[in-house]
Symmetry: C2
Subunit: 239 residues, 2 copies
């Protein structure tokens, strides 16, 4: 059961996406929304604040909440979304090849990345084939004490689905870093590099609800197929 302010957020979001409320117009005022949704101003403001954070509207004092044109944004890449979830929004045919699946004792390097002292780690390498081209190499290291009993079948499908549906845990937040690296000879063999020498590397450290770090990932993308979109607000305090 979604909370009231999330319901209102979802409702307004859909109306904006479906252009029932067109861009460059104003939302009803907070007072009007209060009577429309039978709720208090605080609840309405929570919903509006979410819309604002996600780039759907821009509110200004004395004026109201302006609907931004949302097409130009195309969100999905930002945030924390599994490849399986993302693949529904991709236009092409998507296939995953599990190139490597093993359980190994934690190495010195991984001890640092995963904040572990001892124990085992799953080492998983998956190649993402989109429309017949091998474009992405995902390398995952997962703490086997936190996420046990992984199998090749799970990994072929979706690790997040297993974590959230079968283990009943919740993936919560991640730190990500985007850089560009030289492709190794092995990577050039595994992927269809189409003459490129470089790869875009997205490193993620992913945490559960209780703030335990369970996953370190390097996701390597052929440079011409990489695109990242974000919506940023200027902070007028920090500088």
């Amino acid at each position: 059961m979604l909370s009231k302010y999330l319901q209102i957020y979802e409702d307004l979001k859909q109306k904006i996406e479906r252009k029932e409320i067109p861009s460059h117009t104003f939302l009803p005022s907070e007072n009007e929304l209060m009577t429309l949704y039978h709720s208090s101003r605080d609840t309405i403001r929570k919903s509006l604040s979410l819309l604002q954070q996600n780039g759907y509207i821009h509110t200004s004092k004395g004026k109201g909440s302006l609907v931004l044109d949302h097409e130009k944004i195309a969100f999905p890449v930002a945030g924390l979304t599994s490849f399986k979830e993302l693949s529904h929004t991709l236009p092409g045919d998507v296939m995953t090849i599990v190139h490597c699946f093993e359980k190994i004792p934690v190495t010195t390097y991984l001890k640092k990345e995963l904040y572990m002292q001892k124990g085992d780690v799953y080492h998983i390498e998956r190649i993402r084939d989109i429309d017949g081209e091998k474009i992405i190499l995902d390398i995952d290291y997962i703490n086997a004490q936190v996420i046990p009993h992984l199998t090749k079948e799970i990994v072929q499908d979706s690790i997040y689905e297993y974590i959230e549906n079968d283990l009943g845990l919740k993936v919560s937040f991640a730190k990500k870093e985007i850089t560009v690296i030289q492709a190794s000879d092995q990577e050039k063999e595994l992927l269809d590099m189409d003459g490129f020498d470089l790869l875009v590397c997205v490193k993620s450290y992913t945490y559960l609800e209780d703030a335990t770090l369970f996953q370190y990932t390097e996701s390597k993308h052929r440079p011409d197929k990489f695109r990242f979109v974000e919506f940023a607000r200027r902070s007028h305090m920090d500088y």
Copy 2:
């Protein structure tokens, strides 16, 4: 005069950054913070919500607000920050070369990017030299009706400073896109490419407080010198 909840946010943020409140410990509870800062729970919760959004803490029901280790994040690249502001946080010697500064009638291409029907546009190209290497090429197109009277001197220093301090306008939000592109021959001549063929291209559409689009930028970075960091939370509704 900063509002109360922003003061509390800044205070807690500093204490976390200076490790007066160490990571992996809990903040005082909301009740305790209420008496500590002589404020209502709602005000405290606004401050905590900001800390949460920016990756400083992680709150869970029944437990409290856990301080995350923040060093591992290193924020500055995310958000909406001028190069001059960023340069204070860069380790090396930074220099800007204004390679092109002209006012031109809007072209067909720019009409689309800047949502303009007619009028003039400033076309600015700046090369960023860091520690003696020409690494970044910033190409700006700015609506001259919205931001008038630009000079080469302003552009050499900081456009945002001019907009905010001299014109009294406020830079508010931006949509950004990161891709990788082939460097043109001209770009290879302007920058010290060090053998690279590709550039990381960050396109931004930047808006003022009143939601007018005033700037379209392509910021092109030598791939080995590009790094982008973000903090992402998982949304448990959208998929």
